[in-house]
């Protein structure tokens, strides 16, 4: 019914989808699994019309179609239930359901609210949600909002000739267990009205719900599994597959860390709703990887160490001193540096030049009585530009115009030049091309040799295994397992996945 044939999608430096074949029949539930970066979200965006494929065809009932935008896809019956919910919180439920399609209720330029409420109730009945359609959306629980979103997509039924395909992106990630059960029951009943594509990190749920499962890796579909055909383990092997290249992650440069020098200790740290009872230690020269799925609490741990969050219970000790006031300023003064995932938001200030960005966290060191010594700043920036071979025309270049890899180097230089010896790296290689990634790996090894302790949240599991001295697996905010990763005795991807999902 709905089919993708040899669909290709390329981004600068990345071949995101490689000749993907995909099909879904009437009333079918199809699962889609893969690691982060395997191409799941790109594939979904192609399906619901946010991206246009560079090659291949999209076919509905054998006819080639092309969607200019998500709305065009909706008009052909393709609906998307977003993971980050797309409802507008300050509007009522019915306004959200018919957002952009209010015209059907308008008479003489005035909206007939009664008619809209009745129509909205009919939609809500499809998902068995009994609420007043005039409720303000922000008053609903998360699960209820998810159902409203589903109801909104189901309005396509009345608008569209032909069959519906509904994408569910991580619909269960924030639901409680009984809510998940209800959702699954509902989805199964709704197969009378629509087909579903179900994307989730939770393998057991995908196995339970889906009729068939597409397994993706590196932008390609590597397997299609029918229900009950393979075990969770077999599918996970397919997901990761490839042998890890030791050279690539500079494993030959991994030297033992200094177990006698403890830089950071967390004991029983809890943040309600995010992390619970986290205890870990970081030593000089150690690369400690936090591994887990999205939302498992890795970022909350980093942000607690950096003082952006104050834990409710437990202690954080940096270099023997217990932290009492949790502020980034306090952490920076103790030598903590943070390379956030959102480089553009928290990494560099676009519009400020290279040297201004580098000294931003340590201006006190380059000034006397508030007056800056710009000569010194520029010399420092020139030094680091050559040390890290940053490709910038000079230290006066606008950081916003540098490539992603070079921006990342500026961020790293910012902390390293300031003498930070506890580095928190959140997805430092995200969005970088291979060459830039290798530069970052080299820098991580350099820092490790210089006795810097590094807490890393890696982009992929392979990266985590390749780079780390130790790995801590986090799930639902709690530590599941700690692995030692000496060269030659590293855990396998499968070992980790086992504790992650």
């Amino acid at each position: 019914m709905y089919q993708l044939a040899h669909v290709d999608k390329k981004f600068p430096g990345v071949h995101a989808l490689k000749s993907v074949d995909f099909q879904i029949g009437r009333g079918e539930i199809v699962g889609l699994v893969g690691e982060n970066g395997a191409g799941k979200s790109t594939l979904m965006k192609v399906i619901y019309g946010a991206y246009q494929p560079d090659g291949g065809q999209i076919l509905i009932d054998g006819k080639t179609v092309r969607f200019a935008n998500p709305r065009a896809a909706m008009e052909q019956g393709i609906g998307m239930v977003f993971q980050e919910q797309s409802l507008i919180a300050n509007l009522t439920v019915m306004e959200n359901i018919f957002l952009g399609y209010e015209q059907q209720f308008v008479r003489f330029g005035v909206i007939n609210w009664k008619a809209m409420a009745a129509a909205a109730s009919a939609q809500l009945a499809k998902v068995k949600l009994e609420i007043d359609p005039a409720t303000i959306t922000s008053a609903l629980s998360f699960a209820q909002r998810q159902l409203v979103e589903l109801a909104k997509v189901l309005t396509l039924e009345e608008r569209v000739q032909g069959d519906l395909v509904i994408l569910l992106d991580e619909p269960t990630s924030v639901l409680a267990e009984d809510e998940v059960k209800l959702l699954f029951k509902l989805v199964r009943e709704l197969t009378a009205r629509a087909s579903f594509i179900f994307v989730s990190h939770r393998m057991d749920e995908v196995m339970e719900l889906s009729d068939r499962i597409y397994v993706m890796k590196d932008g390609a579909v590597v397997d299609v599994v029918a229900r009950g055909e393979k075990t969770v383990e077999q599918i996970q092997h397919k997901m990761v597959g490839r042998n890890v290249d030791k050279e690539y992650y500079r494993e030959q440069r991994q030297i033992p860390y200094d177990a006698g020098r403890e830089l950071l200790r967390m004991e029983g740290v809890s943040l309600p709703g995010r992390i619970s009872d986290i205890s870990l230690t970081l030593h000089a020269g150690e690369v400690l990887c936090l591994v887990g799925t999205e939302g498992s609490g890795r970022e909350a741990i980093l942000r607690t160490i950096y003082g952006m969050r104050t834990p409710l219970t437990g202690t954080v000790t940096i270099k023997g001193q217990e932290i009492t006031r949790f502020t980034p300023r306090n952490a920076v003064e103790r030598g903590v540096g943070y390379v956030p995932r959102e480089r553009k938001i928290e990494g560099i200030v676009a519009g400020m030049n290279v040297y201004e960005n580098m000294t931003l966290s340590q201006m006190g060191r380059h000034s006397r009585a508030g007056v800056l010594r710009i000569g010194g700043e520029r010399a420092l920036a020139r030094d680091w530009i050559s040390r890290l071979s940053i490709k910038a025309s000079s230290e006066l270049a606008d950081c916003g115009n540098l490539s992603g890899g070079n921006q990342q180097k500026v961020v790293l230089a910012k902390w390293r030049s300031g003498g930070s010896d506890i580095m928190l790296l959140d997805h430092p290689t995200r969005g970088l091309d291979i060459g830039a990634k290798e530069d970052v790996y080299d820098m991580i090894r350099d820092m490790s040799e210089a006795g810097v302790g590094i807490v890393l949240v890696a982009d992929t599991l392979e990266e985590a295994i390749g780079l780390s001295h130790s790995i801590i697996v986090v799930k639902d905010g709690a530590i599941q397992k700690r692995f030692d990763c000496q060269p030659g005795a590293k855990p396998s991807l499968y070992d980790l996945l086992h504790y992650m999902i």
Binding site: M308, P328, R329, V332, Y338, V349, E356, L360, V371, L372
Partner: protein
């Protein structure tokens, strides 16, 4: 990137080109516009406005806005006159003491303004607007609606004593402009303004105390408003509760026309200078070419819109609110 005439370069110099175009335009209509006497007139009217514009530039660089200038100027101007009279009524006898006093007062008002904005978490727009009304109200209360005069020839020398055709107050304004430039480019505070305006989350994540920077910005702006008040008194020889009127429109307009981005992080005191000169040139030019009174305000508004269109980069802003 097309060499010398790249988009960035054009945008950077656009406000200055607009200013030059205006001068040429008015000169073409009435050649008397292009004279030292007239330029002195433009700079005299620009001097107090420039001080306000420099002050508010720092706030806008941070991505905030300060609308308290009218009230602050009225209050500090009135208090300056009163203090000046109290301290002997002439500069040499002790009237000069009023100057540091008023600058400190300006700083104090700005500090409170910043404190209200940051501590009570009220948007700067609202906090400063309210603060401005408090200032105007206090000025009315102090004067009872009367005018307070300063009759000291030495102090009025700021207006009357001329060097190279320009009165002293113009040079004072230039000195404070230089101070503003120094703060902007050479101090950690100035760098912090850009960091907060360019990426507040990042500034926070780099360990900057963003709240302290904001309060410092409002305090600094308060000092510049107080300088403006003193220059305004020097210009008029008196103060009353409406001394600060019109400064809000002139200063904010100037800063925007000069190319400082309202969303923060872009621009500086030079933009404020060019902007103030553009607005005052328009004002002066309309008089010189003999436009009737009753169309001048409307014309100023229209020309300001044209100047903003020509001189600012609006492509970077996705949403304009």
């Amino acid at each position: 990137m097309t060499g010398r005439f790249s988009r960035e370069a054009v945008i950077r110099w656009a406000p200055l080109l607009v200013l030059i175009a205006l001068v040429i335009l008015f000169t073409a209509i009435n050649p008397q516009f292009f004279s030292l006497r007239n330029f002195a007139r433009i700079t005299i009217s620009s001097a107090p406005a420039l001080m306000v514009a420099v002050g508010v530039t720092f706030i806008i660089l941070m991505g905030s806005i300060d609308l308290s200038m009218e009230g602050v100027i009225s209050l500090t101007a009135v208090l300056f006159c009163m203090a000046f009279v109290r301290f002997g009524g002439n500069l040499a006898a002790g009237g000069w003491l009023a100057m540091p006093l008023i600058l400190a007062l300006g700083a104090g008002i700005g500090f409170v303004n910043g404190l209200i904005h940051v501590r009570l978490r009220i948007p700067s727009f609202m906090a400063s607007l309210a603060m401005g009304f408090v200032g105007t109200g206090a000025a009315v209360l102090l004067t009872g609606g009367d005018i307070v005069k300063v009759d000291d020839d030495v102090f009025r020398g700021l207006l009357t004593y001329r060097v190279l055709g320009f009165p002293l107050m113009v040079y004072v304004a230039v000195v404070f402009l230089g101070l503003g430039w120094f703060l902007q480019t050479r101090t950690t505070l100035g760098r912090n303004f850009y960091a907060v305006g360019g990426g507040e989350d990042l500034a926070h994540a780099s360990g900057l105390n963003v709240r302290r920077v904001r309060i410092a910005g409002f305090t600094l702006a308060g000092v510049f408003y107080a300088v403006a008040a003193i220059l305004q008194v020097a210009k008029l020889g008196q103060a009353e509760s409406v001394t600060g009127a019109n400064f809000m429109f002139i200063s904010i307009t100037s800063v925007v026309v000069g190319g400082v981005a309202l969303w923060g992080g872009v621009g500086g005191v030079w933009n404020a200078l060019v902007g103030v000169l553009i607005v005052n040139t328009i004002n002066n030019g309309m008089v010189v070419i003999g436009l009737p009174d009753y169309v001048q305000d409307g014309m100023l508004g229209l020309l300001v819109i044209v100047a903003v269109v020509l001189s600012t980069d609006r492509r970077a802003a996705i949403v304009v609110k």
